[in-house]
Amino acid sequence: MVNDGAPDIEVVARVLGGDGEAFGILIRRYEPGLLRFATRMLGNPDAAADAVAESLVRAYRHLAQCRDPGRLRSWLYRITGNRCRSHLARRHTNDISLSDVPPPALADGSDTWAVLERGEQVALVERALASLPAEKREAFVLKHVEGMSYEEMATVTGARIPTLKMRVHRAREALLAALEEVVR
């Protein structure tokens, strides 16, 4: 029995050895990040959940094709990113519909004004992100939300590092321009 803290390479070997239940360890380990990534890519939590579920099943089916189980995270993000791109392509546009971006989530905290302000900011940031072309949005999310290095991003996306840097820089410009509206 492989434990929850076992390295990816050990868990993968276990699954390939016939212990399909061990795949649950990998799901628990990477599901939160994959869901966050897909949600930011698609702007719709339901579509994101579908994309991640399909990606994980696909990863399971083709686990023997994972060329470097030590970099399983990158492989899973690559599959999920591909799934998200397919989903966006079916919409005939790479952009997220702004109607998919949820409205500010307002809580009934004691400091209503502060909560409202933050909710507005969240909505504004999400809309700024949603307005970016998919490839810039992907680069931004992998860098600043998932905290990947440019090297890992290159593995995930197949794009060259200078290209990824350019996409991230452009995405930052858009985001900061949107934030200026908040503080103006």
Partner: protein, 210 residues
Amino acid sequence: MSPIDPRLQEALDLERDPGDLPVDLREAYARFNAATQMLKATPPVSVAARVMAEIRQIPPPVHSEGPARRLIHWLGRPRAVTVRLRPVWTLALAAGLAAVLVLQWPSGGPTPGVAQGIANFVGQFPGARSVEVVGSFNDWSRGTLHLNDDDGDGIWHAKAVLPAGQHEYMFVVDGERWVPDPLAGRYVDDGFGAGQQNSLLIVRPVSAQP
């Protein structure tokens, strides 16, 4: 959207200490980080149960047979001949070798089936300790088809009986480096995005051999 100060980009790329930024850029840096924090909330849903339920309905991503049994199974199949040759500088030699292999396949071996062929894998990997082939024909399983370099010249060879048709494959060098065949001539996307490609092999059935 207007370009932002390169110093701010450098700080966000961790190439510059944000403490060295002028006050206005430091404020923009803080605003940016606050904004990205807003995007880091993890969605309060889980697909784990759904995924596990689905994968319990499909076969595990391994063969029920062990590698040795699969190899024995291959060797027991009827065989036909198709020759694949890799390094450019050995093409002429390999062409001759192909003819020899086709004509001199051991007569005591299994009889080729009409819907099968023999793939002859040849790759140049000087200094490699091991080379094997994985592909769609063996579910990308390692340890079933090893190449040999008996004379130590860096040219590795292996033959396998394969069903006629199209197969994707890769070389695995030293047990860890996955290498597409540079001279396969045909490639297909590996299906996982990122533009990585598998080599493509087309095996002709024995019935199509001249």
